[in-house]
Subunit: 386 residues, 2 copies
DNA sequence: TTGTAAGCGTTATCAA
DNA sequence: TTGATAACGCTTACAA
C-alpha cells in the first residue's frame, strides 16, 4: 500500500479498451465490438470468450468514443429554471429526478441536471447541449402558457418530453380550437363530456401530464360535499401551464355547481411562503372571507394555516385548508393538512420512459400520469353556519 | 414552416465542425483549433477571422470529440445515496446543487446527478463513470464515519472532494487548530490508529466542511445562557460523519459547562418526521423531560413542535426548540423556529471551487465553509422554573 | 465467421 | 505562421 497522499495523486490506472480485449482474446477489434454489443456476426464461442475477457478486465465502453462514433451520448438533460431561493422549498423535484433515474440508470443513461436563472438561459443551454452533442434528449419541466422551448427543441431536432402538462392553455370553452391537424395521439386524455374537444396538449413535443382538471374536481367534490360555497384557490406562478389549467378547472367546476364566481376564484403567487401568507391575510380580511382555501403547494398551505392560527381562526372549524401536493410538511403541522397526493417518482418514471420511447422513434403523443387522490386529514371539515 | 408533427421529427440540422470553419475561413483545421483555444501559433488576423466564422456558424466543440482526444470530459458527478422517500424532505440538496453549478457552469462544465439506493451502488457507479471516462471528478456527499468511498476514489485516481466534513471524527477540542479557515497538507501524515483525534480530516481526499463543533457551541451558548440545563439533541443518521461530530461536540460542550451527561445527550434517528416525532414523545414522557431540544433538521424540528402542541406543552414556555438548518418550514410554523442558518449554496460553490482546484493539480487540503449563525426566533426562551 | 479499414470531431505533433 | 497527419476508442461497412 502506498502512502495515502500519494495514492490520491498517482497516475490513474489505464482503462482497458477493446484493443486490449481483442489482443487478449485473440480476435479482432470488430469481433469484440460485435460480441459486446449483441450483434450477429460472431460465433457463440468467440462471443463467450470476449465477454469473459471484458469482464476480467473490467471493461466499460468509453462514453466519449461511443458518442463520437455516431452513437448516442448516453445522457439526458434536465434544466431547472428557477431562482435559487425557491428551489429548496418543494420536495417535488428531487422526487421527480429520482423517478426519472430509476428508468434511465437501468439503461446506463446519465442525467445532466442544470439549474439556471431564467428561460433564456435555459434555451441557450439547450442550444449548447445540442451543439456539443452532450445529451440525447431533454425533459422540459415547468411548461408555461407561452413557452418558447418546444419550438426551439423541435427546430433543433433534440428529442424532448414536456413534463407536467401541456404548455398550451387547457381547453377553453371560448376557443373551439380542434381544427389543428397534427400527428398527436392522445393516449388516454379524453376531454370530459361537458367541454369541447381539447386542443392536443402540444403539437410539437410528446407530453406527460397530470389531469389537473380532474384533480381540481376531486378537491371541489370534497369541499362542496362538506358544504363549502366560498372557496378560494391560492395558485402558484401565473405563467405556468398547470396554474392556468387549475384556474380554468376551478371556474368550470364552480359553474357546474352554480357557484358564484366572485366567491369561488383563484389568486396567483410565486409559490413562496411569504406570498402564500400574504394572500391568506388579504382573503381573511375580506367582508365575507372564504370558508375553504386550496393552496397550490405544501409550503403555502402551511404558511396559510399559520396565518389562521395567528388570528385565532380555528382550522378546520372556521377555515378548511387543502394542500395541492403532499409532503412531510402536511403531516407534521397541527392539524395535519388534507392534501392532494401524487406519485411524483412515478411521474418521473413515466416521463423518462416516454423520452426513451421518443428516442426509439416512437410516435409523438400525450400520456397521462396516475390521477392523484385526495388524502383527507384534519384540516377540512364542514364550514361554520352562515 | 413545416407541419408541427414533422418538425419534431425532421433530421436534426447538421452541427458545424471545425472542418466547416476551416473551409469557410480558408485555413486548415489545426489553425482553427489553435485559434479557438487561445493557443499561440496563429496570426492575430487568422485568429480573428476564425473566431468570426465560428460565431457565425454557432459552433460549439463536440464534447465527445474533445473528451476522446484526451481532454477532459467536461462533466462532474454527484451521487446521492438515499432512499427515495427521504429525498424530498430536505431543502439542502437542491440548494447545494444550485451553488455547485453556479461555479461549474461558468466554466461550461456539466453536472451529472445520480440518485441511488445505497453506498455499494454508489461505489459501483464511480467505477463505471471512471471506466467510461464520463466525469472528470466527483463530489462526495454525506460522508460516513466509516466510508469506503475516499479509498476507492483515490485508488481509481478520480479527482474528488468530500462535501460536508471529514469522514473521521472531528479534531478534538484539545487541538485548537480547527478554528481558522485552514488548509492542511496531510500528504505526509500517516494516520495512526491509536490517535484518532490527531487524524487529519481526510488523508485521501480534499474536504470542504462546516465546523459543527463551533455551531453546536453556539447553540449551547444560546440555550445555556437562557438557563437550560436539560438539553437533548435529536440527531440524524448515526452513520454520518457530521452526526458523529455533532454528538461529540455536544458532549464536549456539556462537559465544559459541567452539565450532567444524562441530562444533556443525543439520540439518533433517520431524519424522518416520524422518527423525530417518536423520539420527542419518548423524551417528553420521561420523568424529567428536557427543557430544550435541538433537532438535526428542519422537518424533525417541526414534527417535534407538533408533538408538543398535541400534548399541550407550550413552546417556548415549557419547551424550547432549535432546528439545525433553516428553511421556509421554520418560518411558517407557529411559533417560528429558532434555527441554525447556513449558506448552503455558498457551501456548494466552495465545494465546486475546490474540486476545480484539485483538477488543476492543487494540493490536497481541507477547507472550511462559513460558520453558520443562530437565528433566534420564537421557539426558544427561558426554561420553566424548576 | 472473421479481419481490415474508414470515419466520428478534436487535439497534438510534426514538417514545410 | 501554417497545413498535413496521427492519435483518441469505438462502430460499421466491406472484404476475405
Amino acid at each position: 500500500m502506498t502512502a495515502p497522499g500519494e495514492a490520491a495523486r498517482r497516475k490513474p490506472a489505464r482503462r482497458p479498451t477493446i484493443k486490449d480485449i481483442a489482443r487478449r482474446a485473440g480476435v479482432s477489434e470488430s469481433a469484440v465490438s460485435f460480441a459486446l454489443n449483441d450483434r450477429p456476426g460472431v460465433s457463440q464461442d468467440t462471443r463467450a470468450r470476449v465477454r469473459r475477457v471484458a469482464e476480467e478486465l473490467g471493461w466499460q465502453a468509453n462514453s466519449a468514443a461511443r458518442a463520437l462514433s455516431g452513437e448516442r451520448a448516453g445522457a439526458m438533460g434536465l434544466v431547472l429554471a428557477r431562482p435559487a431561493q425557491t428551489l429548496g422549498v418543494e420536495s417535488f423535484f428531487l422526487q421527480l429526478v429520482s423517478g426519472i433515474q430509476e428508468v434511465l440508470s437501468a439503461r446506463q443513461i446519465a442525467l445532466l441536471l442544470q439549474v439556471v436563472e431564467d428561460l433564456d438561459t435555459e434555451c441557450a443551454l439547450y442550444r449548447r447541449w445540442w451543439a456539443e452533442r452532450r445529451v440525447d434528449g431533454v425533459l422540459v419541466v415547468d411548461p408555461r402558457t407561452d413557452d418558447p422551448r418546444p419550438e426551439l427543441l423541435a427546430a433543433l431536432g433534440l428529442p424532448a418530453v414536456v413534463v407536467g402538462g401541456p404548455a398550451a392553455p387547457g381547453p377553453d370553452p371560448a376557443e373551439p380550437s380542434a381544427g389543428e391537424p397534427s400527428a398527436t395521439e392522445p393516449a388516454t386524455a379524453e376531454p370530459s363530456a361537458t367541454e369541447p374537444a381539447a386542443t392536443p396538449p402540444h403539437p410539437l413535443l410528446s407530453t406527460v401530464w397530470a389531469d389537473d382538471a380532474k384533480a381540481m374536481a376531486r378537491i371541489l367534490d370534497h369541499l362542496y360535499g362538506l358544504g363549502h360555497r366560498r372557496i378560494v384557490h391560492i395558485a402558484g406562478l401565473p405563467g405556468l401551464a398547470h396554474t392556468a389549467r387549475r384556474i380554468q378547472s376551478l371556474r368550470t367546476e364552480a359553474d357546474r355547481r352554480g357557484l358564484d364566481r366572485r366567491q369561488v376564484h383563484s389568486v396567483t403567487t410565486d409559490y413562496s411562503d411569504a406570498e402564500g401568507a400574504e394572500a391568506t391575510r388579504r382573503l381573511l380580511d375580506a367582508a365575507r372571507p372564504p370558508t375553504a382555501i386550496v393552496y397550490d403547494n405544501d409550503v403555502m398551505a402551511v404558511a396559510g394555516a399559520s396565518v389562521a392560527a395567528e388570528r385565532g381562526i380555528p382550522v378546520p372549524g372556521a377555515l378548511s385548508i387543502v394542500a395541492w401536493d403532499d409532503s412531510a410538511l402536511c403531516r407534521v403541522t397541527h392539524p395535519r393538512l388534507t392534501a392532494l397526493v401524487r406519485d411524483t417518482p412515478g411521474f418521473g418514471r413515466l416521463a423518462a420512459q416516454e423520452l426513451l420511447a421518443v428516442l426509439d422513434g416512437g410516435p409523438l403523443r400525450t400520456v397521462q400520469g396516475e390521477l392523484p387522490h385526495l388524502e383527507a386529514r384534519e384540516s377540512t371539515a364542514m364550514p361554520p353556519p352562515g
